[in-house]
């Protein structure tokens, strides 16, 4: 007689059915994700790496990564074959071949050239966002977790910060527009625009002017930073809480001041956690369109940001920061929503989405790598 024999077979069947149902749902999600990913890769990979296209070609289309977006011209040539060229290439081509047959000529805005502008713009936005969010986020988390008296007030602050995470991104965008783009905030400038500037103080051979920053890298980066702050503060607090009490006690018992204790016995060991979570958080906001739509992004720009910045030293930095930028999510929004999809324009659409996906996945991988790396290194 088996003493471990199942007593109720009905219970067992129910259990089996339920677990099967849960598994089904899980695989459904996995299936959807994989389908989306492969669809994007199938269409986008040949744009970035023409070797994989039907026509074949180079391994990596460097032009796509290094050129600025421009208008795309598509036409039918003398053999009746469809051709498409970026507008600058088209002009050169017609100059070189004045009697080339050009039929059914059509122009498509933003769909030619490459995506250098949006790539660089997004990278700059991410950098500004990361720097600001880390400084403010770590400071806030250290205050809340280490200095503030734990009580109802701090609890309310925490609740408010957490609620911030639920605010729709378009609201952040409008807030950023009102506060960073229009509100008179200090910025260094060589030339004061009398209309925009509320007051200007001469400084370092230029002026510290109080004016709206306008559509700018700084306004966009700060808006993204505000948006990612709740995530970063929560992550920092988690990391700080994970530091064993023994480190703090040992440090304080040796005569460290509170700040010395935090600086030498808490923050160094919390840094990996903070960095990992922050990179992940920033990855997510880097993909947002709404917050930068009103604050930073423009659809078309001729040059990369640093090629346009004027002045020296602090004024150069100011000029760079107050210039508008192109950005990947906004670029994708533009080419996908405003340009009709044809055989000619599809390349830019698919290619941009694919490259952006790669970019975001790289960020995420870096954060995962950091986490694994530090976890191995820092054990206690």
């Amino acid at each position: 007689m088996n003493p471990f024999k199942s007593s109720s077979s009905a219970q067992k069947t129910k259990d089996g059915l339920l677990s099967g149902f849960f598994a089904l749902l899980t695989y459904l999600i996995l299936g959807c994700t994989l389908f989306i990913f492969f669809d994007i890769a199938k269409k986008g990979l040949p744009v970035l790496m023409p070797v994989f296209s039907e026509k074949g070609g180079e391994v990596v289309d460097l032009d796509f990564l290094t050129r600025m977006p421009e208008t795309l011209v598509d036409y039918t040539d003398e053999n009746g074959e469809k051709q498409s060229l970026a507008s600058s290439d088209f002009i050169e081509y017609t100059k070189a071949n004045p009697d080339a047959v050009i039929e059914n000529k059509k122009t498509n805005a933003y769909s030619g050239g490459g995506i250098a502008g949006p790539l660089v713009g997004t990278a700059l936005l991410v950098i500004v966002c990361m720097v600001v969010a880390l400084i403010v986020g770590v400071a806030a988390a250290v205050y809340l977790n280490e200095y503030a008296k734990q009580g109802r007030f701090v609890g309310m602050i925490r609740l408010a910060i957490m609620n911030l995470a639920g605010v729709p991104s378009i609201v952040f965008g409008l807030f950023g527009f009102a506060f960073f783009c229009l509100f008179p905030l200090p910025i260094f400038t060589m030339i004061v625009n009398e209309e925009k500037s509320l007051a200007a103080i001469p400084m370092f051979g230029g002026y510290l002017s109080f004016q709206g920053w306008g559509n700018s890298l700084l306004a966009g980066g700060l808006t993204l930073a505000v948006m990612v702050l709740p995530v970063i503060i929560a992550a920092c607090e988690e990391s700080l809480k994970a530091i064993p009490k023994g480190f703090r006690e040992a440090s304080l018992a040796l005569g460290a001041t509170k700040w010395q204790c935090i600086r030498t016995a808490v923050l160094p060991y919390a840094t990996p956690g903070i960095l990992t979570a922050s990179v992940l958080g920033v990855t997510r906001v880097a993909g947002e369109t709404a917050p930068i739509m009103f604050t930073a992004a423009v659809a078309l720009k001729g040059k990369l940001p640093w090629q346009e910045a004027d002045g020296k030293g602090i004024f150069w930095v100011s000029d760079l920061l107050t210039d508008s930028v192109q950005a990947m999510p906004y670029h994708i929004y533009t080419v996908a929503a405003r340009i009709p999809r044809t055989d000619a324009t599809a390349a830019m659409q698919d290619g941009s989405v694919f490259v952006f996906l790669l970019m975001v996945m790289t960020f995420a991988s870096v954060s995962i790598y950091l986490r694994i790396h530090f976890r191995k290194k820092l054990k206690w």
């Binding site: 023994g246 006690e249 040992a250 005569g255």
Partner: protein, 291 residues
């Protein structure tokens, strides 16, 4: 936090201050063999302590004097307030927002340590602490010992080297680690890590070393080594040790205080406490008949 001015009493702790005239601590029946004030390093005078702003007292009117240059053991059942009392002595309880010394005074070298002009930072440089769970920083062995000096702003490499070597030698750890000072402290055995924590504590040259069950996470051999170490350190430091191990108390301590439910039941020479206690509760506890 109160910052110290050069004339602050705590900065002068290094030179024992003649204790000012005051009402002598009550000599109760449970304290039959008191430490004379002039021999006392720590005077605990009618101290009550609360973790909840005075609603309930965890320590109740404790009075006794801890002699200089001796080992004093605090014993008693779990939860009776031994750690709490120990943490009052270097004001580690300040970390608990709602904690409060509700009555009495603790004087170290004659100075009331809860006076408003005492900087707990300066106090802790003189009153070091070794914790129950050895807690070295995940840094190198060298950096662990140098930590206290570094936060005091000492950067001179030669001076740090010397202090590190001396402290490790005093903690009887030097021979075991001298070839790997720069490897991680977490690679040491538990007993070695605890001795490293002791080295770290004595590196800043405190007058008093508080130890809260320093051996409870260690095996008997490692425990024996720490006990030897305590015997050696006693010449230079005043040591207060909390222990659950009766044998340990008899082996290492000169004086023993027995606590029960936040009260000091009996305080006397260790030999008396364990050989001929005057209170039956003490006798029951030290003989293991506690119920």
């Amino acid at each position: 936090m109160v910052t110290t001015s050069p004339s602050d009493p705590m900065t002068e702790l290094a030179t024992p201050v003649e204790s000012p005239a005051k009402a002598s601590p009550s000599t109760k029946a449970n304290n039959p063999n008191p430490i004379a004030e002039q021999d006392a390093m720590i005077e605990i005078d009618d101290v009550s302590f609360s973790y909840d702003m005075g609603k309930t007292n965890v320590l109740k009117n404790i009075s006794f004097n801890i002699p200089a240059g001796k080992v004093t053991a605090l014993i008693g059942p779990s939860g009776c307030g031994k750690s709490t009392l120990l943490r009052c002595l270097n004001r580690m309880n300040d970390l608990v927002d709602t904690s409060k010394v509700t009555t009495g005074q603790i004087r170290i070298m004659g100075q009331d340590i809860n006076a408003h002009d005492v900087d707990p930072i300066e106090l802790r440089k003189q009153v070091g602490m070794v914790f129950q769970k050895y807690n070295p920083f995940p840094k190198s062995i060298y950096e662990n010992v140098a930590y206290g000096l570094r936060i005091q702003g000492i950067k001179n490499k030669a001076r740090l080297d010397e202090a590190v070597e001396k402290s490790l030698q005093r903690a009887a750890l030097w021979n075991e680690v001298k070839d790997r000072l720069n490897s991680s402290a977490l690679g040491l055995s538990g007993g070695q890590q605890q001795r490293l924590c002791i080295a770290r504590t004595i590196a800043v040259n405190p007058r008093i070393v508080l130890m809260d069950e320093p051996c409870s996470a260690l095996d008997p051999i490692a425990t024996a080594r720490i006990e030897e170490l305590i015997a050696e350190l006693q010449e230079e430091f005043t040591i207060v040790i909390v222990t659950h191990n009766m044998q340990q108390a008899t082996r290492v301590s000169d004086r023993t205080a027995f606590f029960y439910l936040g009260e000091l039941i009996e305080y006397d020479d260790t030999t008396t406490i364990f050989g001929n206690p005057s209170v039956t509760q003490t006798e029951d506890y030290v003989s293991g008949r506690f119920g």
